[in-house]
C-alpha cells in the first residue's frame, strides 16, 4: 500500500504574544515579590509542558518599580523563556510602563507582518499592588484605543491594596483582585489561557478556563 513519503512541512506556527506588566515597586517587598517570582516559575513550567504552546506563545516582561520601567524580557518563545528573579523597590510608574508594553505589542505585530507570520490577538497582563505615581490618564486612553480597534486584550489584576478604581479606568475589562498571594494559581491560569488561545482554531472565540485565583 502506498504511503505519502518524504513529505516536508512548513515551519509556520502562528504566534501568540503575551506581555507581563509587573509591579515591582517597594510595596511588593518581602512575601509579595517572592510569591510573584514563584508564580513566574510556575508559568514557565506550565507553558513548557505543552509542546505547541512552547513554540507558539511568546512572552515578554516589563516591570515598573525597582529601576523604573524596565524591559526585563523581550519577546521569547515559551520554550526559551526562563523566569527571572525580580526584586522590589522604588515607586510605581504605571503610566509609562503601559506605554512601553503597548509599543512592544505594536512592534511585535509589525515584525510578524513583515515576516508573513500568522498571529493571534496579543495579550497584556498587568499586575499591581498599588496606584500609579506618574501620569496614567494618557496610558488609559491608549489602552482603550487599542481595545476598541481590537489591537490587543488588556487584563488588570490587583494585589493587596491595589487601587482598583484606577485599574478600572485603564482596563476595559473589569479588573480582578488576586486572592491573597495566589500568584501560582494566577500564572497557571494564565498559561492555560495562552495554551487555549494558541491552540485555537480559525474563527474561534476562545473560552478561557475558570478563574480560581480571584477574591470574590
Amino acid at each position: 500500500m502506498a504511503q505519502p513519503l518524504n513529505v516536508e512541512f512548513l515551519n509556520a506556527d502562528p504566534r501568540c504574544a503575551c506581555v507581563l506588566l509587573l509591579d515591582t515597586s517597594g510595596s511588593m517587598t518581602g512575601a509579595p515579590i517572592k510569591a510573584l517570582n514563584e508564580g513566574l516559575a510556575a508559568f514557565q513550567q506550565s507553558i513548557q509542558e505543552d509542546a505547541l504552546a512552547s513554540r507558539r506563545v511568546e512572552v515578554a516582561i516589563v516591570t515598573f518599580g525597582a529601576g523604573g520601567v524596565q524591559r526585563i524580557q523581550d519577546f521569547v518563545t515559551g520554550g526559551d523563556f526562563a523566569a527571572p528573579l525580580l526584586q522590589a523597590g522604588g515607586t510605581t510608574p504605571m503610566g509609562e510602563a503601559v506605554r512601553v508594553a503597548l509599543d512592544m505589542v505594536r512592534e511585535r505585530k509589525a515584525t510578524y507582518r513583515e515576516n508573513g507570520v500568522l498571529y493571534y490577538q496579543p495579550w497584556v497582563v498587568m499586575i499591581t499592588d498599588g496606584a500609579p505615581t506618574d501620569d496614567w490618564k494618557a496610558a488609559a486612553q491608549a489602552v482603550r484605543g487599542e481595545e476598541a480597534s481590537k489591537g490587543l486584550s488588556f487584563f488588570a489584576i490587583g494585589v493587596g491594596a491595589a487601587n482598583l478604581q484606577i485599574l478600572s479606568e485603564i482596563s476595559v475589562r473589569q479588573p480582578m483582585k488576586l486572592d491573597g498571594l495566589n500568584f501560582v494559581e494566577l500564572f497557571v491560569w494564565l498559561s492555560q489561557s495562552q495554551k487555549r488561545v494558541s491552540a485555537n482554531k480559525v474563527g474561534d472565540q476562545t473560552a478561557l478556563p475558570a478563574v480560581n485565583w480571584a477574591a470574590v
Binding site: 518524504n6 512541512f9 508573513g116 480559525v202 472565540q205
Partner: protein
C-alpha cells in the same frame, strides 16, 4: 456505456489531537462525486471549534453543495460554472439555515466551505473562509494556489458560510482543465503546513510527494488518513485536518 472516470480521488478528514484529547469529534467534512460525464465535484468544510453544532453545519454544507452541483450540471451543454458554483454555495447556506430553523442560532453551525468543480474544460473553485485549493499544472512541477489568503488580522478570525455577506466575500477562481494535472483541497489545519502564508504560494516539498502518492494506484483513503494522524503532522498542529487529492488518470 459510461465513460471511465478520468479523475482518481483520495479523501480523508481526521480529528485533531486537541479534539481527541477532549473527546470531541472531527468538525471537518468532505464530500465528492464523479458524474457520468467525467465532471468531478469536491466540497470541503471546516466547522468552527467554538460553534456547538459546526460538525453538522460542515456535513450539511458539503452534502448540499455536491447535491446541488450534481443536479444542475448534469446534462448542461455549456454551463456558466461561476454562476452554478455560486448558486451551489447559496444552496449550502440555505440547507444550513434549514438545520438552524428549529430554535437554534445559525452561528451554532458556523463552517467554512471550499467548492471545486472539474469539467472537461475548466477547473473552477469557490471559497468562503480559510483553507486552500492547490493545483499541480500539467508540467507536473508548477503549483498554482486557487484560493485567496485571508484578509483578517488574526489567525483565529475568518468568514463563514453562516456570516453575513458570505457570498460577496467568496473568492472564485478558474483555470483551463487541460492545464491541470492534479488538485488538492484542504482545511486550514493542513494549509498551515503546506501553503506559505506570506505570499500565498504552495510549498513544493509538501505537494510534490503528496501528488506522487495520490497518483499511485495502491494509495488508499486509509493511507491518507493515517498520514493526517501521523506523529509528524500532529506534532505541528492539533487542529482537525482534511485533505482531498485528485489526480488525472
Amino acid at each position: 456505456m459510461s465513460l471511465p472516470p478520468v479523475w482518481r480521488v483520495l479523501a480523508a478528514s481526521t480529528a485533531g489531537t486537541r479534539h481527541v484529547s477532549r473527546g470531541s469529534a472531527c468538525q471537518d467534512a468532505n464530500a465528492h462525486r464523479l458524474l457520468d460525464d467525467g465532471t468531478l465535484l469536491i466540497a470541503v468544510a471546516d466547522g468552527a471549534g467554538s460553534a456547538s453544532r459546526s460538525k453538522e453545519g460542515a456535513e450539511c454544507a458539503t452534502l448540499a453543495a455536491v447535491e446541488f452541483l450534481a443536479a444542475h450540471l448534469a446534462g448542461m451543454e455549456t454551463p456558466v460554472l461561476e454562476t452554478v458554483i455560486r448558486d451551489a454555495m447559496s444552496a449550502a447556506r440555505s440547507a444550513v439555515e434549514a438545520l438552524a430553523a428549529e430554535g437554534s442560532s445559525l452561528n451554532d453551525f458556523a463552517t467554512t466551505l471550499l467548492l471545486t468543480v472539474i469539467t472537461d474544460s475548466l477547473v473552477s473553485t469557490l471559497q468562503v473562509g480559510d483553507g486552500a485549493i492547490v493545483a499541480q499544472l500539467s508540467d507536473g512541477e508548477s503549483l498554482d494556489v486557487l484560493t485567496a489568503k485571508g484578509d483578517s488580522e488574526y489567525v483565529n478570525q475568518t468568514t463563514f458560510l453562516t456570516s453575513n455577506g458570505y457570498l460577496e466575500a467568496a473568492y472564485f477562481a478558474s483555470r483551463p482543465a487541460a492545464s491541470v494535472r492534479a488538485v488538492a483541497v484542504m482545511t486550514d489545519g493542513m494549509q498551515l503546513l503546506a501553503v506559505h502564508h506570506a505570499n500565498n504560494t504552495a510549498f513544493g516539498a509538501f505537494f510534490k510527494p503528496m501528488f506522487r502518492f495520490a497518483a499511485d494506484p495502491t494509495a488508499t483513503d486509509q493511507a491518507l488518513a493515517d498520514f493526517l494522524t501521523s506523529e509528524a503532522v500532529c506534532r505541528r498542529t492539533d487542529d482537525d485536518k482534511t485533505l482531498v487529492l485528485t489526480v488525472r488518470q
